[in-house]
């Protein structure tokens, strides 16, 4: 604590607190008191967290086979995986979301899909958002996992083979856990990036927290205050993610030199 609270820091913190106090006193925050907006904000925060979590999990499940295909697969699996990663990483996420929502979404009306049981689902926006965000995670993380699978020491795999482990057991017990362990810090960083990508789906009518702030700004004609709240909320969620991954890392055994 002594090393953190140097004299100049105390002054800086005081200045920051004064700025926050000024924003609270002179800013227009009356909309925060309306229950209509409170519910919207809470729902929006929940949706942002939900989108980040679900798309990260689904994306990672896709990234593992993609990474494996690139790392050790035969060329007819490695090449498509490679092309997929290049396309996803080389084009803006916003464009991928719009292509899925406006493009793919425009194909369904008037076909058999409209009469099928899937229609109530495909009529909404969130499936497109989840699919687009998950595919994006799969592309970026596929590349990360490629390096991770390659990085597991060869002796480990040979030892497992020598013990007579079937290939799938070897993958499940030795290869995958060690690969995931290696990239845990990277995945933590990528999760924060994923959180920061979720506001893009507000452009396809998903009411997550960014869209909620936009709605409040439209209703009340207040320019900055909802945006400041938005920034604070994102920082809090990002901090939470970093904290969670630190905890996860501290739980996994690390061999240091």
């Amino acid at each position: 604590m002594q090393s953190f609270l140097k004299p100049h820091r105390i002054v800086l913190i005081a200045l920051a607190l004064a700025a926050v106090a000024a924003a609270v006193v002179w800013g227009r925050w009356e909309w925060l008191g309306e229950s209509k907006y409170q519910i919207l904000i809470l729902k929006g925060i929940w949706l942002s967290i939900w989108l980040t979590t679900v798309t990260m999990v689904v994306g990672m499940c896709l990234a593992i086979p993609i990474g494996l295909a690139q790392a050790v697969g035969p060329w007819y699996l490695a090449l498509p995986a490679r092309i997929y990663c290049t396309i996803i990483r080389g084009t803006p996420l916003l464009m991928q979301i719009w292509l899925l929502y406006y493009g793919l979404g425009s194909l369904f009306p008037g076909t058999w899909v409209q009469k099928s049981d899937l229609w109530p689902l495909l009529r909404q926006a969130w499936p497109y958002a989840v699919v687009a965000l998950s595919l994006s995670v799969a592309g970026y993380e596929g590349e990360v996992m490629r390096g991770a699978f390659r990085g597991v020491p060869h002796g480990q795999l040979e030892a497992a083979k020598a013990m007579g482990m079937p290939r799938f057991t070897l993958f499940r017990r030795i290869w995958l856990p060690q690969a995931l362990n290696r990239v845990l810090p990277t995945i933590g960083g990528e999760t924060v990036l994923q959180l920061k990508s979720t506001p893009l789906v507000s452009t396809i009518t998903i009411m997550e927290i960014y869209a909620v702030a936009g709605r409040i700004r439209q209703d009340t004609f207040i320019v900055y205050e909802p945006l400041f709240l938005l920034a604070i909320i994102y920082m809090a969620i990002a901090g939470l993610i970093v904290f969670m991954f630190r905890w996860l890392e501290s739980r996994t055994p690390q061999r240091t030199a």
Partner: protein
């Protein structure tokens, strides 16, 4: 010339440069995207160099302020920062102009876009460059100081040449980010490639013509950039021993 309904046009005609094609719109948007990316990247590089040196060699206050800047920018979504700056930059500038006795101006969209993206780029470039400077062997810098070199000279003759190789991969990734981040400006209404694609496809309903075409353009920049940065890294690493022996 009166165009036939878009449904009767082929993909090539839609993408063409004729009266009925959207080729010129897309290409104009593409040019705009690249210009914004280059401007933001260059300005971000200036911020990054200043920030990296400020973070490493600045006074205690400067160090803390740069840390606050990089932490804040990297924790808040680009879209939110852009929206805040989109209103704050022109408003702040005009207040400054009026306070100092000038008339208010309308900042061109292009400049706002560049400044807004550069602010984000600057934070990431600060971190990349800081890491690259830290990777320069410390003895080199101490030796230069011991020879009596002025700080500017140390930076120019010793730090810059040796940090380039370390910084190039990170800076390459950030350049790819810059080109893709220009797409975010579409959300706040800038006319660049993504916005142009949206307009073209919304008008003609030919989604699967325009989106793949625009994606191919973005992909083209990415692939060329990856190639170019690989060459630059090779150039920057000449004279360094190859790790693989």
């Amino acid at each position: 010339m009166i165009c036939p309904p878009p449904a009767q046009l082929s993909s090539l005609e839609l993408l063409g440069f004729g009266d009925c094609g959207w080729g010129a719109t897309l290409l104009w948007g593409f040019g705009n995207s690249i210009l914004i990316a280059i401007g933001a990247y260059a300005l971000g590089f200036l911020i990054g160099v200043t920030g990296a040196f400020g973070k490493l060699y600045g006074g205690p206050v400067a160090k803390d302020l740069w840390s606050v800047y990089t932490t804040l920018v990297r924790a808040v979504p680009e879209l939110v920062l852009m929206l805040i700056l989109y209103y704050a930059v022109p408003a702040g500038l005009n207040q400054l102009l009026i306070a100092s006795g000038y008339e208010r101006i309308d900042l061109p969209q292009f400049i706002t876009g560049v400044v807004v993206l550069a602010f984000v780029q600057g934070a990431y470039q600060t971190e990349v460059l800081r890491g690259a400077i830290l990777a320069v062997p410390h003895g080199q810098i101490e030796a230069a100081r011991a020879m009596g070199m002025a700080p500017g000279q140390v930076a120019r003759r010793v730090i810059f040449p040796q940090m380039t190789a370390n910084a190039v991969p990170g800076l390459g990734n950030l350049w790819l980010n810059a080109t893709k981040d220009t797409a975010l400006l579409a959300v706040i209404g800038f006319s660049e490639l993504t916005k142009a694609t949206y307009q073209a496809s919304a008008t003609t309903k030919a989604f699967f013509t325009f989106y793949p075409a625009a994606m191919a353009m973005y992909l083209l920049i990415s692939l060329i950039s990856i190639f170019a940065f690989a060459r630059i890294e090779k150039w920057a690493r000449k004279g360094q021993r190859d790790v693989r022996g």
